[in-house]
Symmetry: C2
């Protein structure tokens, strides 16, 4: 059976990605990070999802990026703003986050002798983060070939991004078709301990709009 | 003043690299990882070196790769072998290690608004690790351009590898000229708590030979 490491935040995109990897016949190894995010209910969601979707294993790796980086997602002194569409990279940006997450996934994939890494990035509804673009992923594929023992031996670990050209609505439609229970997922940057969403941050805005555009009922628990 | 993040293991190469970055006029931010390595005296050495060489800051980031990967460097059940030159990638290889370390350095560099990352890899005396080769570093430069906010804005963080074409003896000659106190550094994979070296592992073999070939007195404390 093919094996894949699936980066699983506990949000909508990564959960869809896990469902997709399963549908393609992969035995899935879910990988989450405790990087000091304020919205820790996302991690609790990741655990529930990995279990519900029969991941072969789920690891949560502590990674105290708040020791080094500042972002509204990890720094208590920066408030998470409401959604603003001004074309700027938002304060929720965590420097080099995907670069770090994929690097760790690559190490684990090499140990597991996995064939692929799945990451649920989208270049469409990507909030302006540079590390969600196709050209970024393409550069990482090249790096992965050169970085690993298996790559050098001619069997590189592939980096799969099934959502890269999908907008939020299309992602939700795909997951809906694959039977994803989006009630398990948490997207909100300001979710409370029960996983209830604020309804007003970047991430909530895009999620709400996604369900509405997809014509799928939104199972999210909003605080207000 | 230009700023650089310098990856500092506490060994001979990374210490030379720090001295070189300083000599080039960089204010240096030293970054070490506690990744569950058995030879923890290396980390103690890194702290002494960062202090002695006036790093602007030194961070030691916990990163429990032994949760995911197996390597003779982190797994208590795998013995570190004596030096063998058989052209194989040795069991001391930590999957994707440099990929992970550079990724974290990239995140910190972006936060610090640093101009460069320095890493002391060498493609000459590299023990057969794939992530020490020039083509690997070149692929990472491309990725760094695409991965970061500053890269997107046209001012990518450069990845500097001043030792890449130097053998161990040439590295030691460079550091000697720059006034590096190699007595502070620990290379041995099996060093004891006092930082004394076994004299027989891969890393000791290359270090001993390096000092001998360089015609520089070896200040290493060997156990036997």
């Amino acid at each position: 059976m093919k094996k894949a490491v699936v980066l699983l935040s506990g949000g909508l995109d990564s959960t869809t990605c896990l469902a997709y990897a399963k549908s393609q016949g992969y035995e899935c190894y879910a990988l989450s990070f405790d990087y000091g995010q304020k919205h820790n209910s996302e991690l609790e969601a990741a655990k529930r999802i990995a279990h519900a979707m029969n991941a072969a294993r789920h690891e949560v790796l502590p990674l105290q990026l708040n020791q080094l980086t500042r972002s509204a997602l990890t720094d208590q002194s920066i408030d998470i703003p409401d959604y603003v569409d001004d074309g700027e990279i938002p304060v929720t940006y965590v420097p080099a986050r995907n670069t770090i997450l994929i690097a760790v996934a690559l190490g684990w994939a090499e140990v597991l002798e996995a064939d692929a890494i799945f990451i649920g990035v989208s270049s469409v509804d990507y909030s302006g983060y540079p590390d969600c673009r196709p050209e970024y992923i393409e550069a990482y594929r090249k790096l992965a070939e050169l970085a690993t023992k298996v790559g050098v031996e001619g069997k590189p670990i592939s980096i799969e991004t099934p959502l890269i050209h999908l907008n939020k609505a299309e992602t939700i439609q795909l997951g809906h078709k694959l039977g994803v229970d989006y009630g398990l997922t948490v997207s909100c940057y300001r979710a409370n301990d029960e996983g209830e969403a604020c309804g007003e941050c970047d991430s909530c805005y895009l999620r709400k709009k996604g369900f509405s555009d997809a014509g799928v009922e939104d199972p999210t628990h909003y605080i207000q």
